[in-house]
Amino acid sequence: MEIEKLRYKRQFKKGVTILMITLKNISRAYGKGKGTIHALRNVNLKINAGEMVAIMGKSGSGKTTLLNTIGLLDNSFEGEYFINDINVKKLSEKQKAFYRNEFFGFVVQDFALIEKYTVFENIKIPFNYTKKRLKKKELIERIETITTKLGINDKLKEPAYNLSGGQRQRVAIARAIINNPNIILADEPTGALDSDNAKEIMNLLKRLNNEGKTIIVVTHDEEVSKYCDYVINIKDGEII
C-alpha cells in the first residue's frame, strides 16, 4: 500500500502520462445469490498510449462495465488493474478522483450534461476539481479555444437544454478534454445522434487520437469501429 502511494506521488510530481493500462483477470458481478449477473469474467486487456480501440458487443455484454472499470468509476471488481505500474485497487478514493480528473475524459451516449447549467458551466466542471490552477482569463481562453475547435463557441452562454444532439455531444467532448487528459472513454458516443452528426463526432475523436490521445470507444456500431485501430469483442462478459 505504501509503495503504491509512493509510486502515485512520484508519478503525480513528474506529471507522467499514462503509457499503458493493463487489466488482469478482471471480473465484476452485480447482485447476490441466484440473481447474480456476471458482467465481466476474467478479462485480460492491455491498451497502449495513443491507440484508438473499439470495445464491441451486444447490449448487456459487459462493455460499459469494462469501460467504467477502466475509467475508475467502478471499484467493485475482482482482479488487478494497473495504470502504468500502479495497482489502482490500492489507490484511495481521492487518488482515483484525481486520476478521473487528470487522465480520463468521459463521453457518453446521452451526453450527461447538466441541463440547467450553461455550456460554459458544463465544460468547466472538471476544472473545478483539478490541481492545476488557471486564472479565470486563462480558463476562458482555454474553453474558447476548445469550443472554437468543436464549433460551439457561440453557444457558451446557452443553457444545455437549448442545444441539439450534435451540439450536446460536442459540449460533452469539450468537457472531456478541457483538462487535457491522456485517455478519452467514449460510451456509445454516437448512439443518440443521426448519421451526419455521428460521423462528425467520430472524426472529432479520430482527430483527438491523431493528436496523441488514447481513445477507447464502446459501441455496437460497425461504422464506429472502423475509425479505431483495432476492436475488442466482448460477449457475456468475456473477451472473445
Binding site: 472499470t69 468509476l73 478514493e93 478522483a97 478521473r100 446521452d110 447538466i114 440547467k116 472538471p126 476539481y129
Partner: protein, 396 residues
C-alpha cells in the same frame, strides 16, 4: 479549500433552483430554533434563579400570606388613621428586628402603554438588589445613595423594551405612584433583556420580568412618612423575610396580631419554591413537548426534502464524480446547503435573544440538527456506487 469554494457556488445554485423548498425549510427551522431559544431561556432563567436564591446563604425565606378577613379589612379601613399609625409601628418593628433580613418590592401599573403593553413601575429596596442582582447593558446600577433620596430627581433602571421610550441619562416627568404627584425620574441604567426575579409573593407567576417596566429605589425611611393605607399595606405584604429562625418571623406575626392588624401567616421559601418549581417544570415540559412535535415534523420534512434533492441531483453528482469530484466534496455541497438554511434560520434567534446563553445553546442545538438531518442523505451518497447509479440514473 478551493474545491470547497467551488462546492459553495454549486450549493448556492442548488438553493436558487429550489427556492420554494428551501423557503419552507427555512420557515420550519425558524420556528424550531425560536422555540429552542425560548426553552433554553427558560432553563437558563430557572438555573439563574436557583443560583440567585443561593444568596440566601442557606437561610430560609418566609413569605407572608395575608389571611385577614374581609370584615377585618373593612374595620381597618373604617379606622384608617388609627390603622395607618399601627401599620407604621408594625413596619418599624419589621425593620428594626435586626435578626431578620428582608427585601421589599412593590409594583404599580402605570397609565402609559408601550407597544400595547402597560408600563409597570417597580419599587424595590436595596436588599432586593443584593439578592436578585440586576445587570445593566448601559449606564449604571443603583448605588446606596439612590435609596436615600427624599426629594429631587429619582434615579430609575429601565427595562429592555422601554429603552427607547425612556432613554439613558434623560429626565422624565412621571406621576409618582406612591404620592400621586408629578416627579422627575432620571434614567441611570438600562436593564438587560429578560432581567427578572423569582416572584415569591406572587403565586400566579414564577418570574417577574422587568422588560416592560422600570425600577426605582425604595427609600425605606420614607415609608413611615406616607399616610396612605394602601402603600403601607403593599409594603408590609410584599416583604420577604430571610432568616433561619422561624421565631423571628413569628414575632412579626405576633406583633401584627397584638396591634390588631393583618392576620399574617408565613410560608417558607421551600414550600413556595416547591410550588414555583413544579409550575416551572410543567411549563418547560409543555414547551419541550411542543418543540419535540414541531422538531420531529420539521426534521422529517428536512430529511425527506434532502433525500429527494439528493435523488433528484444524483445524475448531476455522478457527472461531478466522473469529472474528478470526491464523495467528500459532494457531501460538503449538501452540508453547505443545509448549513446555509440553518444560518438564515438562526438570524431571528440572534435578533430576539441577542448574543446570550440562549443563543449559544440554540447554536449548539442547530449543529445537532445539522448532524441529524445529514445522516441519511450522506449515508445514501456515501454508499452509492458510481457505475451502478450511472446505469440506473442515466440509463447508460
Amino acid at each position: 479549500m478551493i474545491h470547497i469554494l467551488g462546492q459553495f457556488k454549486y450549493a448556492l445554485k442548488d438553493i436558487s433552483a429550489n427556492k420554494l423548498s428551501y423557503s419552507i425549510l427555512c420557515l420550519q427551522m425558524i420556528v424550531v430554533l425560536l422555540l429552542t431559544g425560548f426553552v433554553s431561556l427558560q432553563l437558563i432563567n430557572a438555573n439563574n434563579y436557583n443560583k440567585s436564591l443561593e444568596k440566601l446563604d442557606g437561610k430560609q425565606a418566609y413569605i407572608s400570606i395575608d389571611k385577614t378577613t374581609a370584615e377585618k379589612i373593612s374595620y381597618l379601613l373604617n379606622n384608617e388613621q388609627e390603622s395607618i399609625e399601627k401599620m407604621k409601628e408594625l413596619y418599624l418593628f419589621m425593620r428594626n428586628n435586626s435578626k431578620t433580613r428582608y427585601y421589599t418590592i412593590i409594583s404599580y401599573l402605570m397609565p402609559e402603554k408601550h407597544n400595547g403593553r402597560q408600563v409597570v413601575e417597580y419599587i424595590a429596596n436595596e436588599e432586593f438588589f443584593d439578592i436578585f442582582n440586576q445587570e445593566v447593558i448601559a449606564g449604571r446600577k443603583f448605588i446606596s445613595k439612590d435609596f436615600e433620596i427624599k426629594n429631587g430627581t429619582i434615579p430609575i433602571l429601565v427595562g429592555y423594551n422601554l429603552k427607547d421610550k425612556y432613554q439613558l441619562n434623560n429626565i422624565y416627568e412621571i406621576t409618582d405612584s406612591i404620592t400621586g404627584e408629578t416627579q422627575k425620574y432620571k434614567v441611570v441604567g438600562i436593564l438587560k433583556l429578560n432581567s427578572s426575579f423569582v416572584d415569591l409573593n406572587n403565586q400566579q407567576t414564577n418570574f417577574t420580568y422587568f422588560n416592560d417596566g422600570y425600577i426605582r429605589p425604595l427609600n425605606e425611611n420614607m415609608i413611615v412618612t406616607y399616610n396612605d393605607f394602601s402603600v403601607l399595606d403593599m409594603v408590609i405584604n410584599n416583604t420577604v423575610f430571610i432568616s433561619n429562625n422561624e421565631l423571628d418571623v413569628n414575632s412579626i406575626k405576633n406583633k401584627s396580631d397584638e396591634l390588631g392588624l393583618f392576620s399574617l401567616e408565613f410560608i417558607t421559601l421551600d414550600e413556595s419554591l416547591k410550588i414555583i418549581k413544579e409550575r416551572e417544570k410543567q411549563l418547560i415540559v409543555y414547551e419541550i413537548i411542543i418543540l419535540s412535535i414541531i422538531l420531529i415534523f420539521s426534521l422529517m420534512g428536512i430529511i425527506s426534502a434532502l433525500l429527494e434533492m439528493v435523488s433528484k441531483n444524483m445524475p448531476e453528482y455522478y457527472i461531478h464524480l466522473k469529472c474528478g469530484a470526491t464523495h467528500f466534496l459532494i457531501i460538503s455541497r449538501i452540508i453547505i446547503q443545509i448549513s446555509l438554511v440553518m444560518i438564515i434560520s438562526y438570524i431571528p434567534v440572534i435578533v430576539i435573544f441577542k448574543f446570550s446563553l440562549a443563543t449559544l445553546y440554540t447554536f449548539i442545538f442547530t449543529l445537532i440538527i445539522i448532524f441529524f438531518t445529514l445522516i441519511f442523505p450522506v449515508w445514501k451518497l456515501k454508499n452509492s456506487d458510481i457505475s451502478d447509479n450511472l446505469r440506473k440514473e442515466l440509463q447508460f
